[in-house]
């Protein structure tokens, strides 16, 4: 039995349903990251949000970016964040006070920012095309042509930046030597 083109009773297509599901998941998980009292749960919600965003990237036709999102963000950065959480949670740190004293001005600023974004996005003529379904997949050839054409210098600088970040991260997180740390007086 073939599925109908649009959802019954609501009249929206299946790609719309998929977009609403994914965006709802992403926004709910982002609220979980920001408002969660338990920081381990915040890290797991971050993984959920990044996975939902990978789905939205596939809907936008950029499967290569979705793959990089899963590999780099979910595979590497999330694991790094979870390890850092495990290394820095001490029992003396109170987990009940998750927010600073400036939480109310921060909330006002964030709501204002969202309203400004909504107004700007709604009132701007983007010169964009409208697809009858989700955007068509772009494939990897235009991405490679852009990455190794006009953005070649940025690509090379990014590689040097990652090398420097790896060396700097190892140096910063290294235990200080015993004969160098004697001025701390502990």
């Amino acid at each position: 039995m073939p599925l109908p083109d649009v959802l019954p009773f609501i009249g929206i297509g299946w790609s719309d349903v998929l977009f609403l599901l994914l965006s709802g998941t992403v926004v709910a998980a982002a609220f979980g990251v920001v408002f969660g009292r338990d920081i381990i749960k915040s890290g797991l919600f971050l993984i959920l949000a990044l996975g939902g965003l990978a789905g939205i990237y596939v809907m936008l036709g950029a499967a290569i970016v979705a793959g990089a999102q899963v590999l780099v963000y979910i595979g590497a950065i999330s694991v790094l964040i979870l390890f850092a959480i495990m290394l820095t949670q001490s029992k003396v740190a109170p987990t009940s006070l998750a927010f600073q004293t400036q939480v109310a001005p921060a909330a006002v600023a964030a709501v204002l920012l969202a309203v400004l974004f909504g107004l700007a996005f709604g009132s701007t003529n983007w010169g964009s095309v409208v697809f009858s379904d989700t955007p068509s997949a772009i494939g990897t050839s235009p991405v490679a042509a852009a990455l190794f054409g006009p953005y070649l210098l940025a690509f090379e600088i990014a590689s040097v930046l990652i090398l420097a970040a790896v060396i700097g991260g190892v140096y910063l997180a290294m235990e200080p030597r015993a004969n160098e740390g004697n001025e701390e007086g502990e």
Binding site: I56, V65, L87, A93, A110, F117, L161
Partner: protein, 106 residues
Amino acid sequence: MSQIAGHIEPYLVLSGVLFAIGSFGFLARRNAISMLMSIELMLNAVNLAALALGAFVPSLAGQGAAFALLIIAVAAAEATVGLAIVIAIFRNRKTPLVDEYDTMRQ
């Protein structure tokens, strides 16, 4: 015929909402690692906006994805150094809460 997923504005609005949530978390949380997670949310919102523009504006085809890949690389470097700094500070101060890092204020 889709009324939502075929237009650019829902993707951009989702990106804006996500950026606002991340900025709230960065301003309001006390834990340094929570602040770094909020920064990751904001970077992903920027990625989503770049990819939406690359998919819907014909003259930007391919450039949005290239831009997003470069942002992912920079975010990986930022997370590495940021978490290493948090671990290095935690070794000295024994707390991950940023409002107790007040040595230079006294």
